[in-house]
């Protein structure tokens, strides 16, 4: 979330799309109804199902699964065609005025630079035109056909309300009503928020779904403001924290790009990732990258990381390919992996195409599952009849299952989707011999380290030299660990001499050994250690700030500055400089957040801006971008600088109504493995669109192990609309078989008024809804794993699998 849960109460308009907060995030959703009651805010819900969020909405519109960009692109076209945008905001805080390169083009589904063989773009013609001074060329009038604003206008001109209806199935009148309400928040004193979740991310165009919405929020001037933002609700208690710790191959803790095979030296690596301003006076905050990275190396390898050995840069693994979970299981499936450690994760249930996952894990030599519950993954080798039809004697994988604690049995911090770290206490021991993950990892590491010390082996240095200062080596204390990633000064930190005042003596800023208060104190000379710069200051000299419980809200705007600790720098709304106009005054006097007081930025939150940056310096609010402003045109995206509608890989239409290019029906830049393309089904055989979803009473695959949840939602089912039920002759409760080209699920059918066939591109498209919560382990009734059905393809940027739009057939079982 760019904003926070409680901040939703400050809004005038809530859009819920790609999520279902009322059922999936009920206690957060209360801030939506709070805004509706106290501010008379309106709620819009756009969803393939008439969800419980829709049930309390002022406006609901149905949409075909996998067509969100067509809808949102239509909103962009609507806003631009009648000039319902916050022009002053757009000019000052986005790249609308920036000139794009000359060769940039979009033609019939392809952007310029497409390589069909490799399914990737050469991005040479994307991006901004840079002048001789090293800065981007701008057109303040936004009239030049090559400026971002005009390019964007041209791109979305095709997304007329008629086209929106044709592609999405949303009736034109409903679409226009929603676009009009959204457009009304372009007024400087009106703000809209958007709440989304996996209904947007789990598509082969997931990242672009979100980007399209971010573009709308920028055009309406709603970013960085109370009651605004783009808010990802997120699905696990610490999914935000584990993302911030970057337990994934692309990055190191704090989103520091991981070194690549092609980085020949530390110097080159740092150069690649250190930002440089693209416009005058911009902060380009990634200029500090060497400080963050060096401090992390010092936290990890301590005294073994010295200036002479490039701060142990060689110790870090250099990545040669994508190693996201789909790629990992693809490698496993090809027999290229031997071992697999699975910590609190149930991939057999949670990854697409169960058949492929089973085959992949069966090729491993060893697998380790550390989990508090008996997961399906841990018993993938066991026969459960039709629910898991395998032959144990043929599966040669040695499987270890280790008992872990649950949240209740360990001390430490979780980070919620508002980016707030909150400390919790252990209440009891785990049953039996369960241990916290930190202790399991520590014991395993110490064992391996001892083996390398004793017996030697390949490249022992990164292991034997890893800094391990914990009082009990086998069981680091959570407080010790937090102090390490929060960071400390290793020696006395003196002020950096000002070349203009050579006579001034350096003063002591932080005494050696002291915890740091903020990432601004980090240095690149090895004098500071900090495991995760984003979390720097969470354990300051004042103690553990994540354990704070002061729930006072002096401004009344839901800003709890002394409750827990929000990254970065205890900031509660990101980009909050944009809550004020370019001159530094509040856009809306009724929601005063941050303003320029003549000397500094001041308000109810920590400024997301250099505190003394006077408005006339024109320092942009999007400080992490080297351009200082937000991107309407983004070259970082794999499939194009502007989001474009592509059909799901399993499309009920068989064509993309937005183009006539047979190679651009679905995302041209998405990665598809051999065998998976062939496993996609066609509409002739699998005529119904399908989507998976969650229920109010269950959380993923955990609560099926919980008796009270099993009582309220005991048995698997699939959901269809009355029109499809009539067509198929199904009655409520009939047992049905849902088949995709990869597998099948049998369950009772629930016939509701919540889903209806939609008229799309000249045909009626019905949708089958498949709740995900059942499996072959649990205290609920057992059921088929829903992901037996789903396709093995991910978003082209994030590789998040396309669980929310695929094809099935349905028949009586």
């Amino acid at each position: 979330m760019t904003n926070s849960w409680v901040d939703i109460k400050n809004t005038d308009l809530v859009l819920i799309m790609g999520g279902n907060a009322a059922e999936a995030h009920p206690c957060g959703f209360k801030w939506v109804t709070e805004a509706m009651q106290t501010r008379k805010a309106k709620l819009i819900v756009v969803d393939p199902r008439f969800t419980r969020s829709a049930a309390v909405a002022d406006t609901y519109a149905p949409i075909r699964v996998g067509s969100d960009i067509a809808f949102l692109g239509g909103v962009i076209n609507y806003l631009l065609s009648i000039d319902k945008i916050h022009t002053e905001y757009v000019k000052a805080y986005t790249d609308a005025t920036f000139m794009t390169k000359e060769g940039y083009n979009f033609d019939n589904g392809f952007f310029s630079g497409y390589n069909a063989e490799k399914r990737v773009y050469d991005k040479a013609t994307w991006g901004y035109e840079v002048g001789k001074d090293g800065f981007v060329v701008v057109d303040e009038t936004m009239q030049d056909p090559r400026c971002v604003f005009q390019q964007m206008k041209k791109h979305y001109a095709r997304y007329t309300p008629e086209v929106v209806e044709k592609v999405t199935g949303t009736p034109k009148a409903s679409f226009l009503k929603i676009a009009e309400q959204m457009g009304a928040t372009s007024a400087p004193n009106k703000v809209m928020t958007i709440l989304y979740a996996l209904g947007w991310t789990e598509h082969s165009v997931g990242s672009q779904n979100i980007r399209t919405m971010a573009m709308i929020q920028l055009l309406l001037g709603n970013m960085g403001r109370p009651g605004g933002g783009v808010n990802a609700l997120r699905g696990h208690a610490n999914v935000q924290g584990i993302t911030d710790m970057c337990l994934y191959s692309d990055v190191l803790p704090g989103y520091l790009g991981a070194p690549l095979d092609r980085d020949t030296s530390r110097e080159e690596y740092l150069k690649r990732l250190t930002g440089k301003p693209l416009r005058p006076n911009q902060m380009a905050f990634t200029q500090n990258f060497p400080k963050w990275h060096t401090s992390q190396q010092k936290a990890w390898w301590g005294d073994a990381a010295t200036k002479d050995n490039d701060f142990a840069y060689d110790y870090l693994p250099k990545k040669d390919a994508a190693y996201d979970v789909l790629h990992m299981f693809e490698l496993m499936h090809q027999g290229k992996m031997n071992g697999f450690v699975c910590q609190g994760f149930n991939p057999l249930a949670a990854l697409p195409n169960k058949k492929k996952i089973t085959a992949a894990m069966s090729k491993l030599k060893y697998m380790v599952v550390a989990d508090p519950l008996e997961t399906e993954t841990s018993e993938f080798w066991k026969n459960f009849g039709p629910l898991n039809d395998v032959k144990p004697e043929e599966i040669k994988t040695t499987v270890f299952r280790l008992p872990t604690t649950t949240f209740a049995e360990e001390t430490g911090s979780f980070t919620n989707s508002s980016r707030t770290l909150q400390w919790k206490e252990k209440a009891a021991d785990a049953p039996g011999e369960g241990k916290p993950d930190s202790e399991i990892m520590a014991r395993l590491f110490v064992k391996i380290r001892e083996m390398y010390k004793k017996d030697g082996g390949k490249a022992p240095e990164p292991i034997v030299n890893l800094s391990w200062p914990y009082q009990v080596a086998d069981a680091p204390n959570p407080g010790e660990i937090m102090r390490e990633f929060s960071g400390r000064a290793l020696v006395d930190l003196m002020s950096i001499p000002d070349p203009k005042k050579p006579e001034e003596k350096p003063t002591l800023l932080v005494a050696g050994g002291t915890q740091l208060t903020a990432f601004a104190q980090l240095r690149d000379d090895g004098s500071t250690a900090c495991g995760n710069w984003l979390y720097c200051g969470s354990w300051s000299p004042a103690g553990n700030l994540t354990a704070r419980r002061d729930n006072s809200d002096p401004s009344g705007l839901g800003v709890f500055q002394n409750w827990g600790y929000s990254w970065p720098a205890n900031r509660r709304i990101l980009y909050n400089r944009a809550s004020a106009d370019p001159a530094g005054k509040h856009w809306d006097p009724s929601r005063k957040y941050l303003s320029w007081n003549g000397k500094a930025w001041a308000g109810v939150d920590v400024p997301d801006m250099r505190p003394n940056a006077a408005p006339e310096e024109n320092v942009g609010p999007f400080i992490m971008n080297p351009e200082g402003v937000a991107r309407l045109h983004a070259i970082g995206m794999a499939e194009g600088p502007f989001p474009e509608h592509y059909e799901p890989f399993e499309t009920p239409l068989g064509v993309n109504p937005m183009n006539t290019n047979p190679k651009a029906i679905s995302n041209p830049a998405a990665r598809v493995y051999k065998g998976d393309m062939e496993a996609f089904g066609k509409a002739a055989e699998f005529p119904y669109a399908a989507t998976t979803y969650r229920l109010t009473e269950h959380q993923h695959y955990w609560t099926k192990h919980s008796r009270s949840n099993a009582i309220v939602q005991p048995a698997p089912f699939v959901e269809i609309g009355e029109d499809l039920a009539k067509e198929k002759g199904f009655k409520n409760g009939d047992m049905v078989k849902v088949k995709s080209n990869r597998g099948e699920v049998k369950a009772a059918v629930v016939v509701t008024k919540r889903m209806k066939g939609l008229n799309v591109n000249g045909k009626v498209v019905h949708t089958v809804g498949i709740p995900i919560h059942w499996g072959f382990k649990g205290v609920t009734q057992n059921g088929y794993l829903a992901n037996s059905l789903t396709p093995y393809v991910g978003d082209a940027n994030s590789q998040t699998p396309e669980y929310k739009a695929f094809l099935v057939n349905i028949e009586k079982a």
Partner: protein
């Protein structure tokens, strides 16, 4: 002594300096409760926690019973929303309201186990045996497949034949220890639940 306190105040009193002790033992208790039977939370200890399910991260109060004497293990007997928490203000949803049953699920893994290649059943083993065997398997695989330099001669120090998937339910501290140790070993096939 007849003290009339609201339920909310009652919790505040017991949290404020008297955690773990019983109001009844101190000679006063809420009237209604004392007349019928002792209030079931009166002899419990409160622990602050965070709901493990979605990322609203509702504040929880967990109540344990057990008098903290040596060898007495506290048992969580009740969980409810934390009324002081700014987001959930004491409320819980149907998922979170059932969290006690997840903690006490009959399907908790209680001991380290191994399923040997081709076998149909689990076998209970000790932590020592489990971790020693896993450490040996990992070292063996690392030593056999670790890549020190790429074709261009650059030191790359990676190990890509063992993968690691991390939980989104682990604490930040567990996550940090996991990433620190796995990266130090050279693991690149590293991913998390957050991806999906």
């Amino acid at each position: 002594m007849d003290v009339k306190v609201s339920r909310r105040q009652f919790f505040k009193i017991s949290a404020g300096g008297m955690a773990g002790s019983s109001l009844a033992l101190l000679g006063y208790a809420p009237t209604a409760a004392a007349d019928v039977r002792s209030f079931k939370l009166a002899r419990t200890t409160e622990h602050r926690s965070t709901c493990p399910y979605c990322s609203v991260s509702c504040g929880l109060i967990m109540y344990t019973i057990g008098d903290k004497s040596k060898n007495i293990k506290p048992v969580i007997m009740h969980v409810e929303g934390d009324p002081d928490h700014p987001v959930n203000r004491g409320t819980l949803c149907p998922k979170g309201a059932g969290v006690l049953d997840m903690i006490h699920s009959p399907n908790r893994v209680k001991y380290p186990q191994v399923r040997e290649a081709g076998f149909s059943e689990w076998k209970r083993i000790s932590w020592e045996e489990a971790l020693t065997r896993i450490a040996k398997l990992m070292k063996e695989d690392r030593d056999a497949n670790f890549i020190e330099k790429n074709a261009a001669g650059t030191t790359v120090n990676r190990w890509n034949t063992t993968g690691f998937l991390a939980s989104s339910a682990s604490s930040n501290e567990s996550g940090y220890i996991s990433v620190k140790t796995m990266r130090a070993m050279g693991i690149v096939a590293l991913d998390t639940q957050a991806r999906i």
